[in-house]
Each structure stands twice: as structure tokens, then as C-alpha cells.
């Protein structure tokens, strides 16, 4: 029970915490404050309870695969919004005067969706076992270890992201965001396979090398969407999203850099524009 609790809580917490760490580190680079964070987490937690309470209704939709479809949809949405948010950060890093309203809205939106998804899973898991007094100790101990591991990794991840110089830090952020987005699309495909909307299959099985239910497996799941036995459609979707996200974000980095270079070469033009 303890082991299962650790893995479930770790998986759910890690997914949300890595996104939050990435946003916080990016916000710091683009000169935004973190006042959006607590309200977003609060709304996300409330949304997770609402989502969990409606899960049985949702599950019955689409001939009983409603939950898989809903999960897949939210993951696809996140995998689109995450690179968009990072793109917004890259543009703002070079243009501090740029209004940040949309960027805050994107960060809050992604955070709410991520926390609502993961929080609902945690809520359902805990509420299923809390009524059993004999399981409570191992449930709480396992949950505490899982949450502790998740937040510890998140905190160190945040400091690690913040430790790079701006030039490298933005590139690292672009790569990490693309990996997370690609991992999400991998999981979305898994949901759609489970709903029989996509064909199943197995390209390889690396569970002997890195088990999915190990701490390392969960960390890789959250960071790069590791799956021990992926289907061909998952691999294809993974690389399509990874490469397109990388191209999109690096084009944003290049654009912001050339814009900054132009400003350096023609400061007068910028001043006139600002005036």
C-alpha cells in the first residue's frame, strides 16, 4: 500500500510540479512576479474536487470511455498551451515593456488544468482508501513520501533551471517544455488507445530496464513522458510534437534575439517607436 501510494502520488505531483517549476523559472527570467501562483493553485485544487465529483458522469460519456477522452483532450490542450506560454516568455524576456496579461492568463490556465487533472486523481485515490482504518497509516506515509519526493524534485528542478545564464537558460527551458509537451501527447495517445480511438501496438518493452512503477520511471514519465512499451502511434505523435514544439520555441528565441540585435543597432528607431 505504501509503495503504491508513493508511486501514485509521486506521478501526479511530479507532473504538475515540473510545469510549475518551469513557469516560475521562466517568469523570473521574463521579469514577471509569482503572485499568480497561489490563486492558480487554489482554483486548480477546487477544480480538481469538482472534476473528481463529476468523474462518474464523465466516465459514462462516449460509450463508457468518457474519462479517457476527457483526459486525452486535457493533455492535448496542455501540450499546445505549454509551448505557447513559453513562447510568450521568450518574447517578453527581450521586450520587458510588453503587456504580460495574456502571459499571466496562459500560465494560470495551464496551471489550473494541470492541477485539476492531477488533483482529481489524488483525490479519488485517497478518498477510496481513507475509510479503511487498517490502511490509513501506510496510505498517509506513502502519500507523504510521494508528495515529499515530488516537491523536492520540483524545488531542485526550479533552482537548476534558474542556475543557467540567460542565453542557455532560455534554450534549456525550450527543450524541457518541448519534452514535457511531447510526453503529454504520448499519454494522450495512450488514453485514446485505451478508448479504442487509436490502434494499439508495441514498439519495444523496456520495463526490465526502467520499470514504470519505479521512482526513476515516474520521474522520466513526468519529464519526457517515458513509457516502457509504447505503441507506434505514440512514438509518431511524440516526435511530431517534440520537433514542432522545438522549432516553434527556437524560432521565438531567434526572433526575440534578432529583434534585440536590431534595437541595439538602431536604438534611435526604438526610442522613436517608444515615444
Amino acid at each position: 500500500m505504501l509503495s503504491t501510494s508513493v508511486i501514485i502520488l509521486l506521478r501526479e505531483v511530479l507532473e504538475a510540479v515540473l510545469i510549475l517549476s518551469l513557469f516560475m523559472a521562466s517568469a523570473q527570467r521574463s521579469g514577471l512576479n509569482n503572485r499568480w501562483l497561489l490563486p492558480a493553485i487554489g482554483i486548480g485544487l477546487l477544480a480538481s474536487i469538482g472534476y473528481a465529483s463529476q468523474l462518474s458522469t464523465i466516465a459514462n460519456l462516449f460509450d463508457g470511455v468518457g474519462q479517457e477522452i476527457f483526459d486525452a483532450f486535457s493533455l492535448i490542450l496542455l501540450s499546445v498551451l505549454l509551448p505557447l506560454t513559453m513562447y510568450g516568455h521568450f518574447i517578453r524576456v527581450k521586450e520587458n515593456s510588453r503587456p504580460a496579461g495574456k502571459l499571466y492568463a496562459l500560465m494560470i490556465g495551464v496551471t489550473i488544468i494541470a492541477i485539476a487533472r492531477e488533483g482529481a486523481e489524488i483525490y479519488l485515490y485517497l478518498s477510496a482508501f481513507i475509510p479503511s482504518p487498517e490502511l490509513r497509516n501506510s496510505l498517509f506515509a506513502g502519500s507523504a513520501i510521494g508528495v515529499g519526493l515530488g516537491f523536492s524534485v520540483g524545488a531542485l528542478f526550479y533552482f537548476w533551471l534558474g542556475s543557467f545564464k540567460e542565453q542557455y537558460g532560455l534554450r534549456i527551458n525550450a527543450i524541457i517544455a518541448s519534452l514535457i509537451a511531447a510526453g503529454m501527447i504520448l499519454q494522450a495517445c495512450k488514453m485514446l488507445i485505451q478508448a479504442d480511438w487509436l490502434p494499439d501496438g508495441q514498439v519495444w518493452d523496456s520495463s526490465g530496464l526502467i520499470a514504470e512503477d519505479s521512482v526513476l520511471g515516474q520521474l522520466m514519465y513526468a519529464l519526457i513522458g517515458y513509457e516502457a512499451s509504447p505503441a507506434p502511434v505514440q512514438i509518431a505523435a511524440y516526435f511530431i510534437v517534440l520537433l514542432s514544439s522545438l522549432a516553434f520555441l527556437f524560432s521565438g528565441l531567434y526572433q526575440s534575439r534578432t529583434k534585440a540585435e536590431k534595437d541595439v543597432n538602431h536604438p534611435q528607431a526604438r526610442n522613436n517607436h517608444a515615444a
Binding site: 487498517e134 497509516n137 513520501i145 531542485l156 534558474g162
Partner: protein, 444 residues
């Protein structure tokens, strides 16, 4: 990074939690496996005891219910598959299990089964324990070692928070003192026993504050003194001009009186500019080796016509010595000392430059002129100070900046300046003690 304290606390706690939790998880898994192995061992021992039980002594086919634990069941089966003996609440048909350990579902539970065969007696025993109870029992034992680790973590976090706060208190104190310092407060920062890492920072800040305070004070005094000193010749010039204009017939006389005041004003401005050039802020950081005797000879040669005009004798004594310094300012130092002696000594006086090279390199300029009183000696290096008042007994005018400039240059070269008696206990001697340069340096 917005807060050093927050960074340290969070990162240390994260690393500590990560290590502790991973170790706890690993410990839990190992302990659980070990507990399962112990349970299996007990299962095997029970099976062996049951198999050795003499079946003839049994009075009933089923063991009394009170002897059987619900958590475990057994069947003793003969070669034909008939159950010879079984525990209560046990399936009446033989449990299908291979020899050794296996797992199976019956009675609504999952069971851990051990099957052992006695070939000589042609019977076998099947003994089973409920997996969920075994697991729960093992977990409850293992949790006893995991839970304290989790409970102690908040206390550890609190202690780490306090320790880091305590460790950073000097930094916080320093920040507070600097934050609350008034703009014109150049007093030293006072930290109670600063740590080794912070002591150089405090020392550097205090040094900067002191320099800033000195510079501030110097500039303030300089402005006041300069304004005062400039006012006198300007007033005189103004008065002579007024006289000249009011009485054109006496204009030539007024202009003649004007000349020394203009000269004095010019000299004062030149000296003020020199003084400004010799501040620490405008001073070169690189010193070059200078052979002092050769250097003094060059200066004497330059000034010799002026000494000769006054019939004064100038001599260079002593030995060869090398110091590290800035040629331009050292030339001003020596020239000012010589001009000072030249100015205040009567015609025909004797002036000497003496260079001694022992522990320190000492340059002395002495004369046999009128000298100054002992009480004035300490003050001659002050700015705008003139021994004996505005006009010295010698009748020479001065601005009182010459020795002040000498003092500034000496300070910049870490040299000590002192005044004493001159030749044959007459006149004045100024000693400049330069520190010895490093041995490896070559002469210029």
C-alpha cells in the same frame, strides 16, 4: 534568486527529503521482502510439522476450529487425493497447488500456498496463508520504522530554518546597518564577531567608507580653505584696480602693486591643481622602480640656476637607493621640498639632500636657514598653514600648500613624513621614509 535564506532552506530541505524518502522507500521495500521470506519460512516449517504428525492418532477427520487460525488453512491429502485431515473453513476438495510455493485464489481471498509431499508415506500437505493479512502484518511492522522518519521531518525543517537564520544573521545585520545609514554617515560598520567569509566584506566596506569620509571631509575643508585663500589676493587685486581706475595718474603704481598679488594668485591656482592631481582617486595604481639618487641629481640640475641666483649651495649626499613610485608626483615632492628650503633660506644658505638606504629608504632635505619653532613643526604639513603667519619672516609669500602636497604624495607612496632640526641643529630638515621595494624589482 530572490532570497539567499529561502534558497538555502528549500534546497537543503529538498535534498534532505529526497535522500530520506528514497532511503525510506528502499528500506520499506527491502523490509517487506524480508518479512515475506520469514513468513514463507514459517509456512514451510508448519508444513513439515503437519506432514510428520502421525495420522493414526487423529480421532476426527477435521481439526477443531479453535486450533485453526482464520489467516491460515491446511489440508493433508493421501495419494488417492482424499483429504485425511484439514483445518476448518477450508475447501473440502483438495487445493490444487504444485510442490513448493505458489499463489491461488479461493474463499474470496488470495492465498500464499506451500505444498510438501512425503513420498514414503504417500501423502502431501498443502498449507496456505491469506496474502492480504501477511502483507498487512509485514507492512504494519515495517511502518514502525518509516513513520518516525516522516514525523521527524517537520522538526528537522524547523531546525534547519533556525540554523540558517542564525548562520545568516551577520549578513542580515550588515544589510540592516547599510540600509539605515544616513547619506552623510561615514562611520564604520560594526558587526559583532563577523564570520570569516564576511570579515573581508566588512573590512572592505569600512575601508571604502573611511576613504569616502576622508575625501568628503577633505573636499569640504578644501572648498572652505580655497575660498578663503583665493579671496585675499582677489580682494587685493580688486582694491588696486579700483585705485588705479579712481586715480588714473597713479595707475602705474597700482599696477605695480597688483603684480605680486596676481603672481600669488597664479601660484595658488597652480598648487591647487597639483593637489587635485595627487588624490588617491586620480593616482596611478602601478609604481615603477626609481633610483633616488639619480632622480634627485636630475631635479637639482633643473633647479640649479635658481639656487645659483640666490647664492645658495645645494649638495647631494648619501648612497644609492631604489624605491617604487610614480615619477611625476615624486618629482613634485622633491621640487616642493627644495623650493621650500630655497624660499625660506637667506641668500648664501646651505641646502642638502641626503639619501640613506637601511631598513627603509630615507630622503632628507635639510637647510641651515631660520627654521621653525618646535610647536609649529607638527602643523607645517596642514593645508594653507604658514609658519609665522601670512607672510613669513623671510618676506616670501606662499600659499601654504607646498608641504601639504608633499604630505599627500608621501601618503600615496606609503612613506612617513617628519620634520626635525636642519644642518648643525639649525634650520629645518624634512625626512621622507619610503618603504623598501621588493628585492626582485630592477632599478629604473
Amino acid at each position: 534568486m530572490t532570497s539567499l535564506r529561502r534558497f538555502l532552506i528549500i534546497s537543503i530541505l529538498a535534498v534532505f527529503s529526497l535522500g530520506t524518502f528514497l532511503a525510506s522507500l528502499q528500506g520499506y521495500r527491502s523490509s517487506m521482502n524480508e518479512a515475506q521470506a520469514i513468513f514463507d519460512q514459517q509456512l514451510r516449517a508448519s508444513a513439515e510439522r503437519l506432514l510428520d504428525t502421525p495420522i493414526a492418532q487423529l480421532s476426527t477427520p477435521a481439526a477443531p476450529a479453535s486450533d485453526i487460525d482464520n489467516a491460515s488453512v491446511f489440508q493433508l491429502i493421501d495419494a488417492n487425493g482424499n483429504i485425511l485431515w484439514r483445518s476448518s473453513r477450508t475447501p473440502t476438495t483438495p487445493i490444487s497447488a504444485e510442490s513448493g510455493f505458489s499463489e491461488a485464489n479461493f474463499g474470496g481471498y488470495r492465498w500464499r500456498i506451500f505444498s510438501l509431499e512425503n513420498e514414503t508415506q504417500s501423502r502431501r500437505v498443502v498449507i496456505a496463508e491469506r496474502s492480504d493479512l501477511r502483507y498487512r502484518l509485514a507492512e504494519s511492522v515495517v511502518l514502525q520504522s518509516v513513520i518516525p522518519v516522516l514525523l521527524v521531518l517537520p522538526a528537522t525543517a524547523l531546525i534547519i530554518w533556525l540554523i540558517i537564520g542564525y548562520g545568516l544573521r551577520s549578513l542580515r545585520d550588515l544589510a540592516e546597518q547599510l540600509k539605515h545609514k544616513a547619506t552623510d554617515d561615514f562611520s564604520a560598520i560594526n558587526l559583532e564577531s563577523p564570520p570569516d567569509e564576511l570579515a573581508p566584506v566588512v573590512s572592505a566596506v569600512n575601508h571604502s567608507l573611511q576613504r569616502l569620509g576622508d575625501a568628503f571631509e577633505r573636499e569640504r575643508r578644501f572648498s572652505a580653505d580655497a575660498a578663503h585663500e583665493l579671496r585675499t589676493p582677489i580682494s587685493a587685486i580688486s582694491m588696486h584696480l579700483h585705485n588705479g581706475l579712481a586715480q588714473p595718474e597713479h595707475a602705474a603704481e597700482a599696477l605695480t602693486k597688483l603684480a605680486p598679488d596676481v603672481e600669488r594668485l597664479s601660484h595658488l591656482v597652480e598648487q591647487l591643481l597639483l593637489l587635485n592631481r595627487t588624490t588617491a582617486e586620480t593616482f596611478p595604481s602601478q609604481f615603477l622602480p626609481i633610483e633616488l639618487q639619480k632622480f634627485c641629481r636630475e631635479i637639482i640640475a633643473k633647479l640649479y640656476p635658481e639656487f645659483a641666483k640666490r647664492g645658495q649651495q645645494i649638495a647631494l649626499l648619501g648612497e644609492s637607493a631604489t624605491i617604487h613610485g610614480d615619477r611625476f608626483t615624486l618629482q613634485i615632492l622633491i621640487e616642493n621640498l627644495l623650493r621650500n628650503a630655497m624660499k625660506y633660506c637667506p641668500n648664501g644658505a646651505q641646502i642638502e639632500i641626503d639619501i640613506r638606504n637601511s631598513k627603509t629608504v630615507t630622503l632628507t632635505v635639510r637647510d641651515n636657514g631660520p627654521g621653525i619653532e618646535d610647536k609649529d613643526r607638527e602643523r607645517i604639513f596642514e593645508r594653507f598653514y604658514r609658519a609665522g603667519g601670512d607672510r613669513h619672516n623671510s618676506g616670501e609669500s606662499g600659499c601654504g600648500l607646498g608641504l601639504s602636497i608633499v604630505s599627500r604624495i608621501a601618503e600615496l607612496h606609503s612613506a612617513k613624513l617628519s620634520a626635525g632640526k636642519g644642518i648643525d641643529h639649525q634650520g629645518l630638515a624634512i625626512h621622507v621614509d619610503f618603504p623598501q621595494p621588493p628585492k626582485t624589482k630592477q632599478e629604473s
